[in-house]
Symmetry: C2
Subunit: 310 residues, 2 copies
């Protein structure tokens, strides 16, 4: 198999030269100081946890590894700036698949104009890609703790599709919109930047709305009331998983946003102008925890969230 330095060359070949004082190849990359505050996140995708090599192409894996990080940058309202990528590769990993990972990652990086500035290769028993990504803020960050009683709760896109896609992959289905959501999550970067002008709090829905709603409530010290009938679902999720499945979700990578009621309508108009689909799903109040009401106003059972350790 090729050595580490062949791997590095093969991987970097797919990325444009980073516009930084020192890029990949030295002990560290060197970045000019940012003007605004810097947001930083690290997230990994691991074989047989976040993807399988049977169900994902190498380009899917490269895309997903970067997308889950950009989703965190989006949730702060930041503009993606640079990232580093640590790859752990099995000894028999084909060099052509490495190029595939780089291609999928580079395409998404180009779309968001974010520079790969450094990385690392190591051997390992299983394939994993660990990325650290940064974004720059031009406004105060959208934290999880800024929501206030009375704020309206919004969710972007639709929920449950990635969960459905995982079920489809496990059932041997290799195509379709749900499978694509599982393989190619879309980080809501532009929406996050837009939301930074309106929202009081945000987070990305990666563990399922049910669980991530709990994080928002805990961090902000508020209570949430969500209307089950308002949950945005694709026709396939509505039919195959129902609202409980959409709530449990996992790997949605949509944004959950709290917006002060006086800003809600302006936020909705700005989203419509920008082509961003957001749905008002509930409201925050004084208190703690959260409750979900069905159409008759009855509280429904809470599904568990998505935890890779369980």
């Amino acid at each position: 198999m090729p050595g580490e330095f062949d791997f590095i060359r093969r991987f970097l070949h797919h990325f444009p030269k980073a516009r930084v004082p020192v890029g990949p190849g030295d002990d560290c990359a060197v970045l000019a100081p940012s003007r605004g505050a810097l947001c930083v996140t690290t997230d990994a995708v691991v074989e047989d946890v976040h993807f399988t090599r049977a169900g994902f192409s190498p380009a899917d894996i490269g895309h997903k590894a970067l997308a889950v990080n950009l989703s965190d940058v989006a949730a702060m309202g930041a503009t993606p700036r640079w990232f580093v990528c640590a790859l752990a590769l099995p000894r028999d990993f084909p060099a052509a698949h490495l190029s595939g990972i780089a291609r999928g990652m580079a395409a998404l990086a180009r779309e968001h104009r974010v520079d790969l500035v450094g990385g690392n290769f190591t051997s390992a028993r299983e394939l994993s890609v660990t990325i650290t990504a940064t974004g720059e803020l031009s406004r105060p960050p959208l934290t999880r703790s800024g929501a206030r009683p009375g704020d309206w709760l919004y969710v972007s896109g639709t929920l449950g599709d990635a969960r459905l896609g995982l079920a489809h992959l496990k059932a041997g289905l290799k195509r379709g919109a749900a499978v694509r959501r599982q393989r190619r999550p879309v980080p809501r970067v532009a929406l996050g930047q837009l939301a930074s002008r309106f929202a009081s709090a945000a987070l990305d829905v990666s563990d399922g709305l049910a669980q991530d709603l709990g994080h928002l409530c805990t961090a902000s010290g508020v209570r949430a009331v969500v209307e089950l009938a308002r949950l945005p679902m694709s026709a396939a999720v509505r039919r195959e998983l129902g609202p409980e499945g959409a709530l449990a979700g996992g790997e949605d990578y949509e944004l959950l946003l709290a917006v002060a009621p006086g800003r809600g309508r302006a936020f909705e108009r700005a989203c419509a102008r920008g082509g961003h689909v957001v749905t008002r799903v509930g409201v925050l109040s004084e208190g703690a925890g959260w409750v979900i009401h069905d159409e008759a106003g009855r509280a429904v059972r809470r599904p568990g969230g998505f935890d890779h350790f369980r």
Copy 2:
């Protein structure tokens, strides 16, 4: 086993609260803009590649994971600022061992006043720790490409000890200075900062001096002549591995430095005052590649470097 959020709490408990606008627990950490340029590196330690659970305590693993990153920051002459840590844990990983990893990492972080600002947990078949660390520069960075013909070549500390320590561990020896060098590499952070006032180029010796010397020569477009008799070795390495073993090395985490001849003596005096052990091992010239001379002035065979993929 505990869930992801219990793991996070248990891990963070060992670190002081980061002095940043937003620390661990949100989608991203938020860092105020740095004054100087930022150096960034990412490096991983993987079970059965960089450590074994039989030969390393959890605290050793935590130490080593951060040390190999700080060594890259040191090689740029930067001051460590913050890091993020992605842990991949087997499903049966004992919670007490997680605390051990955190303790070893936190002790080294405290020593270098570098803040843990975020992280990620995922499950995996094998244990690995991937860190992204940054440093701030107050002078131009020490790149690999700044060396010039005529520069003197220096190496810090001694070479080959970590290689010897690995051999000792494989032979069932669990104690001794060499084993400690393998388990607890010392990042030469203070030396890197001092060297930024004198050196034209630097890198950290992680793949063995033989290989890393090649990187310096290639990046700077120079040729190196190294005197075998000058290689700094501990008595144990001299006895058990000899100079060829010291050259092949691997995981030394010493600094290789090029210093203009007019600055050499001042650099040596500054090192002596600061308590840093550096040894002049050779000189750079016009040309490419490198050669090692024995005491009779004859070129010696080049040992291969250390490549986890081979």
